[in-house]
């Protein structure tokens, strides 16, 4: 093929393709290829140049690279496992074995072998008790004292289960003006939970570190309660709206089941709907959410969002199982501390970006802490009744 190449030779084209052209040659080439015929020639030259090469990686390189890929994959798998930190109910060693496999079981044995002198009986549990503040200002502990209420209320406050108060009174109508102005409030410390049945039959499960204020009896036009912390409401159907007010939002329903969380100092408040529909009001807006949706209100940004969640799983705490989703290590520790009512100090250096998931039953703090320790690769000791978490190694 006869193409006027001028100063550009085939060797130079090869140099261009092989990345070995000098500055001058690049300049010449840049000029040369502006010509359409040259461009076509180069296209063909390039094709043959590529076709003429038979570069072989060699078996050894393939072998070695494959090994390093598989190594990468396994390493990642392990890391993903740890990153997800799926901590299932930690009540039996068998469950741990199931979740983490043999590998982690050995690690578990290795770690616990070194630190099994930790005596969980040394842990100091929260000594605060559940408090019910009555309308007349008296504060009692329903676990130890009977709720001796004035004038004829004794029979109405049934407490067969010491962790439950029932305000339902068949004998009275809801229109009792006097009682609707009498407010009681219940405070639940860390490590406890409590159930209240309000006068209309609405059942409220109170989470640890929470407080609910409610009238002894609702009147016929409103059902208002206020909440700090977290509670699960199973509201009795009625034409009278039931309104839960917290610091930054209020939830309005007719009859439905939902979970409200509005903790002091937390980044977000949230409402999770299990059944029916609820209307959530913030200072800015009102939103209606559907079952299996979670309304979150970011306190910092003052913005709200709605996402889909598995509402049943996320509200299992009311049945004594704490389910944690996508929490940072600090949040995880805070939740466990509140759930078990012990002081936990985190001195580990786990990144705040890591997310943890887990499921814990209330009865077994030891299994829970051990599982967390394996999963997060931390160790712990008990000092003056407090649990101290430090980096492993």
């Amino acid at each position: 093929m006869q193409v006027k190449k001028g100063v550009v030779t085939d060797v130079m084209l090869s140099k261009m393709l092989a990345g070995r052209a000098s500055d001058d040659e690049v300049e010449n080439f840049a000029d040369w290829i502006k010509n359409i015929d040259n461009e076509r020639y180069f296209e063909q030259f390039k094709e043959v140049w590529h076709a003429s090469q038979n570069i072989q990686s060699g078996d050894e390189l393939i072998d070695q690279s494959l090994k390093s890929l598989l190594y990468y994959i396994r390493n990642r798998k392990r890391k993903e496992l740890f990153r997800k930190r799926v901590i299932f109910i930690a009540s039996t060693a068998a469950a741990i074995l199931l979740v983490f496999g043999l590998f982690s079981m050995f690690e578990f044995i290795r770690i616990s072998g070194k630190y099994d002198n930790v005596l969980f009986s040394d842990l100091k549990y929260n000594s605060e008790s559940i408090k019910v503040e009555l309308a007349d200002g008296r504060v009692i502990n329903p676990l130890t004292e009977s709720i001796g209420v004035e004038e004829g209320y004794q029979e109405s406050l049934t407490t067969q289960n010491p962790r439950e108060i029932n305000y339902q009174r068949e004998s009275r109508l809801l229109t009792d003006k006097k009682d609707s102005l009498k407010f009681n409030s219940v405070s639940i410390p860390a490590g406890e939970r409590f159930v209240i049945i309000l006068s209309d039959g609405t059942k409220v499960y109170l989470h640890s570190n929470s407080c609910l204020r409610y009238p002894v009896s609702f009147n016929s036009s409103s059902r208002n309660v206020s909440l700090a912390g977290r509670a699960y409401f199973d509201v009795k159907k009625s034409d009278v709206p039931f309104i839960v007010t917290t610091n930054d939002l209020s939830v309005e329903v007719l009859g439905t089941t939902f979970d409200v969380e509005s903790k002091k100092g937390a980044d977000n408040s949230s409402v999770i709907l299990i059944e029916g529909s609820v209307k959530v009001h913030t200072s800015k807006e009102s939103k209606i959410i559907s079952p299996n949706e979670m309304f979150s209100f970011s306190r910092r940004q003052g913005e709200s969002s709605v996402s889909s969640v598995d509402s049943k799983a996320m509200t299992q705490w009311k049945d004594g199982i704490l389910v944690l989703r996508e929490l940072s290590f600090n949040e995880l520790i805070e939740s466990l501390s509140s759930w078990y009512g012990v002081e936990i100090i985190n001195r580990s250096s786990i990144s705040n970006d890591e997310r943890f998931n887990g499921k814990f039953d209330r009865e077994n703090i030891e299994a829970a802490i051990k599982t967390v320790a394996i999963s997060a690769k931390v160790r712990y000791r008990i000092d003056k009744g407090r649990l101290i978490i430090v980096d492993y190694k």
């Binding site: 093929m1 085939d10 060797v11 130079m12 084209l13 090869s14 140099k15 261009m16 393709l17 092989a18 990345g19 070995r20 052209a21 500055d23 690049v26 300049e27 840049a30 290829i33 461009e39 020639y41 180069f42 296209e43 063909q44 030259f45 390039k46 094709e47 043959v48 140049w49 590529h50 076709a51 003429s52 090469q53 038979n54 570069i55 072989q56 990686s57 390189l61 393939i62 690279s65 494959l66 390093s68 890929l69 598989l70 990468y72 994959i73 396994r74 990642r76 798998k77």
Partner: protein
């Protein structure tokens, strides 16, 4: 690796894709062995450097693992992989500032679009008649002749450079090149570009 039933299943694209998404090691091994050599060769011809080519191909496979859950390939897996190697190679030469000298001359676009082999052209070339013909013609050259030809036309060394590295005279290089080109032109009548 010995499991042939598995391997033959992987020739089914959907099956392979599902296995990759699920993170099955065998599937990764399968695509690795299937594509590695050609990808390495391709990356090498863009990067002109052994260790960069190695790194580029390796990180392409690792990348596929990392994003496996969102692996949603509309065209073929093959073009996806080639495109990844291409993008990875360009990233590498960009990082190594190889491109700067082209950029200074306002030649970067042309360099990327005209000089660097794009993945579509590379896939087309693989197993094409052109490639087969060129390869077999070059292979039919006498050894010495082939070596000198490759040094000159593939690697872009001048006659003088080849002469001194092979410890022969420039005249010998010229003669061998004439023989090589005559023979190749004979065989490659339809694409005489050299």
């Amino acid at each position: 690796m010995q499991d042939n039933t598995h391997k033959s299943n992987f020739s089914n694209n959907k099956f392979l894709l599902d296995a990759l998404r699920e993170g099955k090691e065998e599937a990764y091994e399968y695509i690795f062995l299937k594509y590695y050599n050609n990808l390495y060769s391709y990356a090498f011809r863009i990067l002109n450097n052994e260790s960069d080519a190695k790194e580029c191909v390796q990180s392409t496979f690792c990348h596929i693992w990392d994003i496996r859950k969102s692996l949603n390939i509309n065209d073929s897996l093959k073009s996806y992989i080639y495109r990844s190697v291409y993008n990875g190679s360009i990233d590498i030469i960009r990082k190594k500032r190889v491109l700067e000298k082209y950029e200074e001359k306002g030649f970067l676009d042309t360099y990327i679009y005209s000089v660097i082999q794009n993945p579509e052209a590379e896939i087309k070339l693989l197993g094409s008649e052109t490639r087969k013909a060129v390869q077999s013609s070059i292979n039919s050259l006498p050894e010495r002749c082939r070596e000198i030809f490759i040094r000159c036309r593939v690697k872009g060394y001048t006659h003088a450079e080849i002469a001194s590295s092979l410890n022969i005279s420039v005249k010998t290089v010229e003669n061998q090149m004439t023989i090589a080109l005559t023979k190749l032109r004979e065989k490659l009548k339809y694409f005489i570009f050299f």
